[in-house]
């Protein structure tokens, strides 16, 4: 096991963690501000990826594809907030789970109806293809490195938005006391629609960015949705900082586990058995991590509310 391989895998883990953060941030923002469990968040990720693939195919431009993803997912988010989600604030979690589960069915089958069952492909833009050489002679795909950079920049922007701007103050105030900020003259309905569209846009962007690494297909949102839930539960629901820490933990555990656990078992097991045990354990590793965190801290690492 060479140090370069380890470094490469750490970078891969970082990249998947940061993409997960984009998903988890929207999810946790929506839960924190509006107290809403949104199972359809993965569908917005899928909508983003499909919009990006369709726009890029029509225009030949990857950048326009990203714009398409942001616009499409934000629009879909605003639409479902106005039509469905706003009736669910203040309902119990069970109703929210069901209604957003219904939205998953509608989005998935709707997308299948529009685009068919075959996956679409979104190519890495030529300018970002190929590897770069990092210090210590590590070769790493430029595109993945760009994802890490872009994700970190977005994370910084989000922290600034929530922590430093007037909108952020309103969002945090809405989290604490809905009636009070409504009484202070903030249009709470518009604020909620905005926050929901913002979360949707982040999910859509994540979908478009990851869509180049794998195929764009119906059902691509669900595995990510569950990982994003695991992330925010580990981090503590409602906490953006928790989402970042949780996302990096989940990304690194998932990636490093799948590479190193089989290797680890090979130390004292026959190779084929080691590969099987290792990969079985690796696919469960993040859920074991989550269970362990919850047993230790029932509201997650940075969670406060119960």
């Amino acid at each position: 096991m060479s140090p370069t391989l380890i470094a490469e895998q750490v970078l891969n883990g970082l990249q998947s963690g940061i993409m997960l953060f984009l998903m988890a941030a929207g999810l946790t923002l929506i839960f924190g501000v509006m107290g809403l469990i949104n199972l359809a968040h993965g569908s917005l990720y899928m909508v983003g990826a499909f919009c990006a693939a369709a726009t890029a195919a029509a225009t030949g431009s990857y950048a326009l594809g990203l714009v398409g993803a942001l616009a499409g997912a934000a629009a879909a988010g605003a639409l479902i907030e106005l039509a469905v989600i706003r009736r669910l604030y203040g309902r119990d979690h069970l109703d929210q789970v069901l209604a957003t589960f219904a939205l998953i069915l509608i989005f998935s089958e709707g997308t299948r109806w529009l685009f068919g069952s075959f996956p679409l492909y979104l190519d890495v833009p030529p300018a970002l293809s190929g590897p770069v050489t990092l210090p210590f002679g590590i070769q790493y795909p430029l595109y993945r490195l760009t994802l890490i950079g872009a994700g970190l920049a977005l994370a910084a922007a989000l922290f600034w938005l929530i922590g430093r701007t007037r909108l952020g103050i309103r969002i945090r105030a809405g989290e604490n006391d809905r009636e009070m900020i409504a009484a202070l003259g903030v249009n709470i309905d518009a604020l909620y629609t905005l926050v929901f569209a913002l979360g949707a846009a982040l999910a859509g962007l994540a979908g478009a960015l990851v869509g180049t690494l794998q195929s764009v297909q119906v059902g691509m949102g669900e595995p990510v949705l569950i990982l994003a839930f695991v992330t925010i539960v580990i981090g503590g629901i409602g906490s953006i900082r928790g989402a970042l820490v949780g996302a990096l933990l989940v990304g690194l555990t998932g990636t490093l586990g799948s590479v190193f656990l089989p290797e680890f078992f090979k130390l004292f097991m026959p190779p084929s058995e080691a590969t099987q045990t290792g990969s079985a354990l690796a696919s469960m590793a993040i859920y074991i991590l989550m269970a362990a965190v919850l047993v230790w801290k029932p509201t997650g690492l940075y969670g406060v509310r119960t």
Partner: protein, 327 residues
């Protein structure tokens, strides 16, 4: 008798009359469809013990369904290949006898529910929903990478398992068997809801502090309900695997857990026959809408959305016109 009581009797009659008609009219497919509805109803009836009475929104009940399925799959696989299982040096033969399989399914899924509940019940609300979901995924991914029992491809059983005195290969006999199990579980649930345990569980959902104040432990009540609930859903899994003569990781999928919740809500939460009506509607829609359109999930999603947003109390609430059964 209340309107809900009459409705329950009507449902019971339909459960007997529809397959009876299918038998006379020689429509074996309808019997299979009814069997599917009855088994899914059993799974949801299991969940209803935790969700309806205990208020525990488990988004991971497919774990128990899948465990029951794999209990059947593994036992029957070893029986049909004449290869005993090795447990730490002890050889255990497989079996094709349903009573044994059911017992194993009940015990395995009940134990799993106990240990998952032990961990999951440390949390509540959204965290509980999410941790049950995570356990579901854990089992799902484990079964995919478990090559000994087919991994992603699952395990096929060539001949349906047997029950003493019955020929389970005859659709109506297998249906009857499943129906009896469902009715037994519903009777158990009804007795449970009226028992001191059921009343305390109900109270623990509505006012945990008061339950604690009279000296009962709400967490222990919930754990007992969750364990029982998991065991029943596991039994349904064993029957479902027998219906299809096939188990695969999809029995662990979280969408299935979601569908179990859907059955309960569609029929009516915390109603005895809620899961039965919900599962029957689902199976009918799957069949009819599936014939009309390849994209029937859209219509099902819209119906579900409508029921959640406007139809509180589910179909039973709609038909009997009474206020919601719970807060």
């Amino acid at each position: 008798m209340s309107r809900e009581g009459w409705l329950n009797i009507a449902v019971l009659l339909a459960l007997v009359a529809v397959p009876g008609w299918a038998l006379v009219a020689d429509e074996p497919f309808t019997i299979t469809l009814a069997t599917r509805a009855v088994i899914l109803a059993l799974a949801a009836a299991g969940l209803n013990i935790a969700l309806g009475v205990g208020g525990l929104v488990s988004l991971g009940h497919a774990v128990f369904f899948g465990l029951g399925g794999y209990a059947m799959g593994i036992l029957a696989f070893h029986a049909q290949s004449y290869a005993p299982m090795e447990f730490f040096g002890v050889s255990v033969p497989g079996t094709k006898a349903m009573p044994v399989i059911w017992l194993v399914a009940l015990v395995v899924s009940g134990l799993a529910a106990f240990f998952i509940g032990l961990l999951a019940l440390r949390t509540s609300g959204v965290y509980f929903i999410m941790i049950t979901l995570a356990f579901g995924q854990m089992f799902y991914f484990f079964s995919i990478s478990w090559a000994a029992y087919g991994g992603e491809d699952g395990v096929s059983i060539y001949v349906r398992n047997g029950f003493p005195g019955l020929n389970t290969l005859v659709p109506i006999q297998f249906y009857g068997l499943c129906l009896v199990v469902l009715l037994a579980v519903l009777a158990l649930t009804a007795a449970l809801m009226r028992s001191p345990f059921g009343l305390a569980l109900n109270a623990a959902r509505q006012a945990p502090e008061r339950v604690r104040a009279v000296g009962l432990d709400p967490v222990r009540l919930r754990l007992a309900a969750f364990t029982l609930s998991g065991a029943v859903t596991g039994l349904a899994g064993a029957l479902f695997a027998d219906l299809n003569r096939f188990v695969s990781p999809s029995m662990f999928s979280w969408q299935l857990s979601g569908e179990f919740i859907v059955f309960i809500i569609l029929g009516g939460t915390a109603r005895l026959f809620g899961p039965v009506i919900g599962a029957a509607i689902f199976v009918l829609m799957e069949h009819w809408l599936g014939q009309l359109s390849e994209y029937w999930h859209i219509w099902f999603g819209l119906l579900l959305l409508a029921v959640t947003l406007w139809g509180q109390g589910g179909v039973i609430g709609l038909l009997t016109g009474r206020a919601k059964a719970h807060d």
